[in-house]
Symmetry: C2
Amino acid sequence: MSERDVERSVSQTVRAQLALRDMILSGRLRPGERISELQAVDITGVSRTPVRLALVRLEDEGLLQAIPSGGFMVKAFTERDILDSIELRGTLEGLAARFAAERGVGARSLEPLKECLADLDQLVRQDPISVEAFSAYVTMNARFHALLNELSASAPLIREIDRVSALPFASPSAFVMAQSALPEAHQILLIGQDHHRVVVDAIENREGARAEAVMREHSRLAARNLRLAIRNRTHLDLLPALALLKSPVE
Amino acid sequence: MSERDVERSVSQTVRAQLALRDMILSGRLRPGERISELQAVDITGVSRTPVRLALVRLEDEGLLQAIPSGGFMVKAFTERDILDSIELRGTLEGLAARFAAERGVGARSLEPLKECLADLDQLVRQDPISVEAFSAYVTMNARFHALLNELSASAPLIREIDRVSALPFASPSAFVMAQSALPEAHQILLIGQDHHRVVVDAIENREGARAEAVMREHSRLAARNLRLAIRNRTHLDLLPALALLKSPVE
DNA sequence: TGAGTGCAGTATGTATACAGAAAACGCGGA
DNA sequence: TCCGCGTTTTCTGTATACATACTGCACTCA
């Protein structure tokens, strides 16, 4: 589908949602700033009805906050909020891994996960790793996590994981690109990939506690990446999510 | 505020949301049933704009499901979904308790929780427990859980806990009333109250792992209640949430 | 007889007009 | 100069009209 087709086929609501999200994540709308419907109409070019729907959607996506007297403002996050959200995701993914392990998954449903694991191995093996490989890693990593979550076979859980991961700084791949600029980059990637390997092994052997613990620790890698990237102040431009911080680090 | 004042002051959107939620939870709208906007307009008496907003809100509350081609249907849950949601809540509350324990809370902020604990003790001490006491327990229990979650001092976490607990069958007090009809009622209440005591103790002593484990187990009490109530088929009318089950037990 | 097509009815998506409430602004007085 | 109050403007909440997409049914043709 060409871009023009997309523009034609996608609903005005979705279009407004995308445009507004982009404005927020790029920092053109500052945290704490009130965003009026009329202003949103100007930005997006669609009428108030779909704009309003988009605002509601962005609210429960977590990017906006409702003002008691009506209207919305851009939500402001602290560094602690971000770290907590990562821990939260890790906890949920840990639960998913434990469910998968305890309930047992057939060899067939484990197959796609193992293929994904092998693909990731291919990418990680390079030294040094190209930027393209990093980019491919991000895609494949997201796929791995999605497959893993599905193995829990728990719709309510998957729903919550998706919700938490929708926050731009809490997704499994949020800081991989930023990490690419770090000297420890390759090392961190190798460790992360080992986590992947271990969790698959644990699920296969029905070791629920192990699977859970590893996925929790896995998420803490993202937390470490974030802290490293902020401290080193290297390539902060690779961390668009930081535009949401109450007091910007830059 | 009198009921008429509420009707006057509350927005049409909220009114529609309440009316529709009531229809769903009472089973007058069946799981899987499509619910058109026009139908919702008839039910609620407000116009399409607020009705549509209410439908969107109910969707991310988890009671409705979006149909790909447009519109919404009442979501259907399996017994497994319900049990998973309870485990999910337990996991999140466990994380909250661990945060509280690890980060440390001052004696002053622990005070309201301890008062709440004492109040619950008063209620539980009765034997046999009156229906009024059960009802009071539900209220006080909800307060205890809310206070506990706040001790985590983590806005993202509290947000998710509130969201999960909004599901009518996943809240901490969902099955307490049903439990009141069980012969094991008093016993179960005493055990639950002991969990409460232990988690406060663990937080006070900064025992994060213990606090987390206890809150997880605490949620499993709700799961046991649910299973008992369903098996015994006693007072299923006290379990309005069962109207959401794909294949009703009754 | 079965499958496909066209039409009617109905649903949702969108734009816009209007009313009421909140906020911003300026003016006057202490 | 600062505070309070009234006015004006702007914003949100709501209703409704219109356009478009979808669904279901009947009819036709192979």
